[in-house]
C-alpha cells in the first residue's frame, strides 16, 4: 500500500469570502469530515501547512502583483481584480500557507517519505495569472509546485492533469511555451463555462507546442465522455510524454449535483477517473503523484468525493 499524505490545516478556513460566495471554508470542512468519518486519518501521513518561501512564488508571479495582493489584504480591501476574488485581511497569509504546504508535500514525495498526497487547500490556484487574481484564485499552486520540483529537485518532466470543470487558464499560460511541462485539461466547453478559454486549438506555443492539450466537453455529456477522453486521449498522450511526476488539479465541480457546471459526472465517474490517473502514475512515475484541490462546491457531495479520492490514492479497495 502506498504511503499517502494528506495536507490539511485549519488555518485554510481563515480565508473568508462572503456569505453568498461558493468558495467558502465549509468546502474544506466537508472534505475533512468525509476523510475523518471514513476512518482514514490514522493511515494517512497528516501534513500541516507552512509558509512558502517567497522566491518560489516570485518564479511564477510578478513581484508587483504579489506586493499588491499583500497590501490590499493589509488594508482590508475585500476583493481583488474582479468581484469573483473576494478576500479578507488573512487571505494573503493563507494563500502563502497553501503554497507552502504544497511545496512541503513536494519535498516529502521527492525524499520518499510519502508516495502520493491529496492537498486540501484554499484558496485554489489554476485560474491565477502571472499578474492578476482570477476565478477565486490568487497564487498558481500547481504551477508553483511544478517549477519548484524542477528547480529544487531536478525533475525534468512534469505532467499536469486538470479535471476541474473549468479550464485552468493560469497554469496553461505559465507553461505555454515550456516543453518540459505537459498541461492537459478536460473541462466544460468554453462557450458554456468560465473562463471562456481551453479550446482544442490552444496547444502551446513555440518550443511548448504540443505540450498543452485541451479537451473541451459539451454540457450534459457525463461519465461516458470523460472516461473515453481519459482512456483514449489522455492516457496515450501522457505515455508519450512520459512525465517524472504527475500533478493533478482536482476539481469536484463537474459533479451532477454541483450547480457551477452542466457536465453531470457521477460520484462513481470521479472514482473511475482517479483510478486511471493513479494507474498511470504507477506505470510512469513510480507512483509519484500529488493531487491539489481546485474547485468543487456541492457541500453535500464533497465528503464522499474526497473520501473516495483519498481511498484511491491509498489503494484501499
Amino acid at each position: 500500500m502506498p504511503k499517502t499524505g494528506f495536507l490539511y490545516d485549519e488555518r485554510y478556513l481563515l480565508h473568508i469570502t462572503s456569505s453568498y460566495h461558493p468558495e467558502v471554508p465549509d468546502r474544506l470542512k466537508a472534505i475533512y469530515k468525509g476523510i475523518k468519518d471514513a476512518g482514514l486519518l490514522p493511515n494517512l501521513k497528516l501534513i500541516q501547512a507552512c509558509k512558502a518561501d517567497m522566491r518560489w512564488i516570485e518564479m511564477m508571479h510578478q513581484k508587483y502583483y504579489i506586493q499588491r495582493f499583500k497590501q490590499m489584504c493589509d488594508a482590508g480591501v475585500a476583493q481583488m481584480d474582479t468581484p469573483d476574488c473576494q478576500m479578507c485581511a488573512e487571505t494573503f497569509e493563507i494563500a502563502l500557507l497553501a503554497v507552502g504546504g504544497i511545496l512541503d508535500v513536494g519535498r516529502m514525495v521527492m525524499e520518499g517519505e510519502i508516495d502520493n498526497a491529496f492537498c486540501a487547500v484554499r484558496p485554489p490556484g489554476h485560474h491565477a495569472e502571472h499578474d492578476r487574481a482570477m476565478g477565486f484564485c490568487y497564487f498558481a499552486n500547481v504551477a508553483i509546485l511544478a517549477k519548484y520540483l524542477q528547480t529544487e529537485w531536478g525533475i525534468e518532466k512534469v505532467g499536469i492533469i486538470d479535471f476541474d470543470v473549468h479550464h485552468g487558464n493560469g497554469t496553461q499560460n505559465m507553461f505555454n511555451d515550456d516543453p518540459s511541462v505537459f498541461y492537459y485539461s478536460v473541462h466544460e466547453h468554453p462557450s458554456f463555462a468560465f473562463p471562456g478559454t481551453g479550446r482544442e486549438l490552444e496547444k502551446g506555443v513555440g518550443a511548448g507546442q504540443g505540450t498543452t492539450r485541451n479537451f473541451p466537453v459539451l454540457p450534459g455529456q457525463g461519465d461516458k465522455e470523460y472516461l473515453k477522453i481519459m482512456q483514449e486521449d489522455w492516457g496515450p498522450a501522457f505515455e508519450k510524454f512520459n512525465p517524472d511526476i504527475i500533478i493533478v488539479s482536482t476539481g469536484f465541480d463537474a459533479h451532477e449535483d454541483d450547480d457551477m457546471s452542466g457536465i453531470n459526472l457521477t460520484t462513481q465517474g470521479f472514482s473511475q477517473i482517479m483510478k486511471l490517473i493513479v494507474q498511470m502514475a504507477d506505470s510512469l512515475t513510480d507512483g509519484k503523484l500529488i493531487s491539489i484541490l481546485e474547485g468543487g462546491y456541492a457541500l453535500k457531495r464533497l465528503p464522499e468525493l474526497a473520501k473516495n479520492h483519498v481511498e484511491i490514492l491509498m489503494k484501499k479497495d
Binding site: P22, M134, G135, F192, P195, P219, M260
Partner: protein, 221 residues
C-alpha cells in the same frame, strides 16, 4: 461601427497592366485573397481574387509550377479582373458590410470615398475580430441563455438581476427564438459564479435554455 474604423488601410494594389504572374506572387507574399486594381490616381477600376487567378491560369501554374511563365506574362490584369466591383464607403457601417457580404456573396469589399478613390479594404476576416469583441470572447466569463417574452422591459429585469449580484456584463445578445412572441437573451457574465444568478432568474419566472439548444439563428430546434 463605421467601416472606416474596421477596414485595413494599407492596401496592397495592382494596376491594369500588372501581369498575372506578378498578381499571383503578390497574393502569396501578402497572404491575401483580394487585390483591388487602381488607376494612377488611386481610383478603383477593378478587383482580382485568387479564384480569378486560378480560373485564368492552367492548373499547373496556379499551383506555382515553373511552366513556361514567360508565355503567360502577356496576360494582364485588365484581361480577367472584375470591373463591376461591389464597393462600400468609409461611412457605411459594419452592419451594411455584413449584409453586403451575405447578399453579394463576396469575401471582401474595397472601401472608396465619394470620388471613387480607394481608401481601404474590409474582409469577412476583419469583421470576425469585431464579433469576437462583441461576444466578449477573450474576457473570462460565462454565457447564459434565457427565454423571454417579446415585450418591453424584459431585458431591464434581467440586467437588474445580474447587477444586483455585483456581476459585470461582458456582452448581451438578443436573438430570434423558435417560439412565436419569444426571444432568446444571452448575457455573457464576467464571473465564475453564475449559480446564484441562474436561481434568481428562475425565481423571477424566466426559463433558462438548455445549453445544447442554444442557437443564434434558426427557426426551430
Amino acid at each position: 461601427m463605421f467601416v472606416g474604423n474596421s477596414m485595413v488601410k494599407k492596401v496592397v494594389t495592382a494596376n491594369r497592366d500588372t501581369s498575372i504572374v506578378e498578381v499571383r506572387e503578390k497574393l502569396a507574399l501578402h497572404k491575401i485573397r483580394h487585390l483591388p486594381v487602381v488607376s494612377k490616381d488611386n481610383r478603383l477600376v477593378g478587383m482580382v481574387t485568387d479564384r480569378d487567378i486560378r480560373s485564368a491560369m492552367p492548373s499547373e501554374l496556379a499551383e506555382g509550377c515553373e511552366l513556361d511563365e514567360k508565355a503567360l506574362s502577356h496576360l494582364k490584369i485588365k484581361d480577367f479582373m472584375t470591373s463591376d466591383v461591389v464597393t462600400i464607403s468609409t461611412m457605411d457601417t459594419i452592419q451594411d458590410a455584413l449584409l453586403q457580404f451575405q447578399q453579394k456573396k463576396v469575401g471582401a469589399l474595397p472601401v472608396i470615398d465619394e470620388k471613387g478613390i480607394l481608401q481601404g479594404i474590409i474582409s469577412v476576416r476583419d469583421l470576425l475580430q469585431s464579433f469576437i469583441n462583441v461576444l466578449g470572447i477573450g474576457e473570462p466569463g460565462v454565457l447564459l441563455g434565457i427565454v423571454v417574452e417579446e415585450k418591453v422591459g424584459q431585458l431591464k429585469k434581467i440586467v437588474d438581476a445580474i447587477t444586483e449580484e455585483n456581476v459585470s456584463l461582458g456582452s448581451i445578445l438578443v436573438s430570434r427564438y423558435w417560439e412565436e412572441d419569444k426571444r432568446a437573451v444571452f448575457p455573457y457574465l464576467l464571473t465564475n459564479n453564475p449559480a446564484r444568478i441562474k436561481k434568481k432568474l428562475e425565481r423571477l419566472g424566466y426559463s433558462l435554455i438548455n445549453p445544447m439548444d442554444w442557437c443564434l439563428d434558426h427557426n426551430a430546434p
